[in-house]
Amino acid sequence: MQTKNSKSALFPYVIWIALFVIAPIALIIYYSLQDLEGKFTLGNYAAFFSTVYLKMTLSSFWYAFLITFFTLLVSYPVAYLLTKTKHKHLWLMLIIIPSWINLLLKTYAFIGIFGLYGPVNAMIEVFGFDPQQILFTDFSFVFVSVYIFIPFMIIPIFNSLDKLNPTLVYAARDLGASSFTTFRRVIFPLTIDGVKSGIQVTFIPALSLFMITRLIAGNRVITLGTAIEQQFLVSQNWGMGSTIAVFLIFIMVLIMLFTGKKSKGGRV
């Protein structure tokens, strides 16, 4: 391709990278080293390693782990069964449609569903139990988050299952493998890339959710995302908010390295 002309096409793009990729990260790091008066300090980092923040980080991880685990548990069988249906792409489309409805609307729906007079409690009463406080519990938070992430987990797993060569499965069966062994030794390892990208698109956002915690968990659950939002928009302590953000970025990079595909970059 003619190099000179195409290189100039790169110009606005490189400016975009400098302004909106590099500068924001640099600014976050810069602000993380400032106290409330704008003086240089390492105090934010010291504060981050205090028990309060470490506990919060740990609980944020725990919730993200639970959310990812249950999302995977629900999604893998769905993706698997979808590949076995007729018109599988149409069915996949039907799975994707709910993910296009604004996240806040779906979260808001659960305020009604889980509410004291909502349908879930009505069902509980039918079975003769007292209505339960479901909203503002860990359960409701994890449930709604799993609900939100299911489509995003199904898509990559569906794609890798769809690419799986069925003759490999037949071969395993012919060689006497039980269906469980076939799954464990053949199907799952061959679709691990899809699972990994599914985990990637679930775990990182799960660490940083804040509107679901605010609306459904009623400030009882605090994730890294909630903490950042709190520091930036409520306490106006940008330094501390940036410090938490730096750690979130760090964790994100680690997860990317951990779940990244080996063939990355080689293809393009």
Binding site: Q2, Y13, F20, L81, W100, M211, G225, S242, G265, V268
Partner: protein, 264 residues
């Protein structure tokens, strides 16, 4: 093909039911005259009337669509040229560096994008409001467009360009008549994705929007925080219908263009 067992059918049906239940639940109660989501009193359209009668809400809706369209267009232009530029970089290392930068905003959590853009705008001195929201939406849409256009460029046969140049086409002609038409499906897909991302975004907008400017997501958030109002239900009913229409339209356009390709 093996048939699905009854158990797996039940499982699939259950998951589909759960996926759609909250949405249908919202829409069902949007017609409730009682004004809450507990008991269905009688059918009414008053909540829909309330949406259309609320001029503030209409302005917010127009803002949301305006930001989506403008940011989608600008991001598509920058992203398309970015992708063309990336392909022209021959150095493999340089290319992968560019692509890694491209992916940063895609994998970054919204909270981080929002917070860092808030710092950026304050640092540069851009007032929070329409401009900051628009710029942010362009910024996070660009990498999506790049990722949509790039595969089309890579599958393009470079001898097409050589042929055009041999036949005397100028650089401009090559771009306008050969490259752009060839990659147009990628460009459209990128624009469409940018549009949906912009319409859907809450967290980033929440950080960079000032007091006077609001988009639909931000507005829904503040409404939802104060409790249940069936106006939100009516909005979700409208959004659901529009979404389904868009999906159906997209599905038809897609299958038709596939057919056209096969037909050729």
């Amino acid at each position: 093909m093996e048939k699905l067992s009854p158990a797996s059918k039940i499982y699939l049906v259950l998951v589909f039911a759960i996926l759609y239940a909250p949405i249908l639940y919202l829409i069902f109660y949007s017609f409730n005259s009682a004004g809450n989501m507990n008991e269905f009193e009688s059918f009414t359209l008053e909540h829909y009337a309330a949406v259309f009668g609320d001029s503030r809400l209409i302005i917010i809706l127009i803002n949301t669509i305006l930001v989506a369209l403008l940011s989608g267009l600008l991001a598509t232009v920058i992203g398309t040229f970015g992708a063309i530029g990336i392909v022209s970089v021959k150095n493999a290392k340089m290319r992968s560096v560019l692509l890694s930068f491209n992916n940063v905003l895609i994998v970054s959590p919204d909270v981080i994008i929002g917070a860092s853009f808030l710092i950026l705008f304050t640092f540069i001195g851009i007032k929070l409001g329409f401009t900051s929201v628009l710029i942010s939406h362009i910024a996070f849409s660009v990498p999506i467009v790049v990722l949509m256009v790039l595969p089309k460029l890579l599958e393009m046969n470079t001898s097409l360009i050589d042929a055009a140049r041999d036949l005397g086409a100028t650089k401009r002609d090559v771009l306008m008549r050969v490259i752009l038409p060839y990659i147009s499906p990628g460009i459209f897909a990128g624009f469409f994705m940018a549009l949906t991302y912009s319409l859907d975004d809450f967290a980033v907008t929440f950080f960079v929007t000032g007091n006077g400017f609001s988009t639909l997501s931000v507005e829904i958030y503040s409404m939802a925080r104060t409790g249940i109002t069936l106006t939100i239900n009516a909005i979700s009913g409208l959004i659901f219908v529009i979404t389904v229409l868009v999906v159906i339209g997209y599905y038809f356009v897609n299958s038709r263009s596939k057919q056209a390709k096969v037909g050729r």
